[in-house]
């Protein structure tokens, strides 16, 4: 898994490439935490190049969302979620916890 960061004025874009499982999920948690530590809480997760995500990844984004939404200081939104991942997110009841956008541009516009 690889994570790329692109900073915008009002939010940050994390592009997650490859596979998120219990081996790689700690790196995703860390990437979100690093932004939070810099007082950045408005985050877009671009999942367009995500090939796979297990429940370890779901836990990572759940923990991230909790921290970002605290005190109404921000939120994590998801963009370009692959169908296979979306199916699993729906099955586990995760879709109501995140705003989900088809593309990056409207996700950036959300902030």
């Amino acid at each position: 898994m690889e994570i790329k960061l692109q900073k915008f004025k009002r939010c940050d874009l994390l592009t997650v490439i490859g596979k998120v499982d219990s081996f790689t999920a700690p790196d995703l948690i860390k990437a979100i935490e690093n932004l939070n530590n810099a007082n950045r809480y408005k985050i877009i997760l671009d999942l367009g190049k995500l090939e796979y995500m297990s429940s370890a990844g779901f836990r990572a984004i759940l923990l991230g969302q909790r921290n970002c939404k605290r005190y109404n200081r921000g939120e994590i939104v998801l963009a370009s979620v692959p169908k296979k991942v979306m199916d699993a997110l729906e099955l586990t009841g995760f879709t109501p916890l995140f705003k989900i956008f088809d593309e990056i541009t409207p996700a950036v516009g959300n902030f």
Binding site: S22, D87, A88, L91
Partner: protein, 142 residues
């Protein structure tokens, strides 16, 4: 029938998933079913690594994929602490963000995506998790 032994370490999960997805493809499953098999294999083995071996990466996981006319059967054998996924209560998937449980999702997925999930503990001989997914024969698909 194919068997492979993997060290009980999260860095093995990619290879473990490939082992399962190959068997699912050989069974003629479509991409969505292959992904489901991959996911369940990962969740089952992640639980073995985390709970049966308690994160100490010294044990082994023996994975077997067996194909018959009707089913793909996946058998996961470990020698760690007895961990019965069936005994884990289902997570509350409607709870709000702050009270949403972070555990139990893997087992929930396994039960949802597989046709049968069975756990047996044999004491010193270890634990065996059996997961079965029905093959759908091409001609039965519309």
């Amino acid at each position: 029938m194919r068997t492979a032994i993997f060290p009980a370490n999260p860095d093995q999960l990619d290879d473990i998933r490939k082992f399962a997805s190959q068997a699912a493809r050989d069974a003629g499953m479509d991409e969505s079913a292959v992904y489901a098999v991959e996911l369940c294999m990962d969740e089952a083995c992640s639980n073995v690594i985390e709970h049966a071996y308690e994160g100490i990466n010294e044990g082994e996981i023996e994975c077997t994929c067996d194909l018959n006319e009707k089913d793909l059967t996946i058998i996961i054998h470990d020698h760690g602490k007895s961990f019965n996924p069936a005994a884990v209560p289902p997570p509350d998937l409607t709870a709000d963000l702050d009270s949403r449980p972070i555990g139990g999702l893997g087992i929930f997925l396994m039960n949802k995506l597989m046709d049968e999930v069975r756990f047996e503990s044999f004491g010193e001989s270890g634990n065996v998790l059996t997961m079965i997914k029905h093959r759908k024969i091409e001609s039965e698909k519309t």
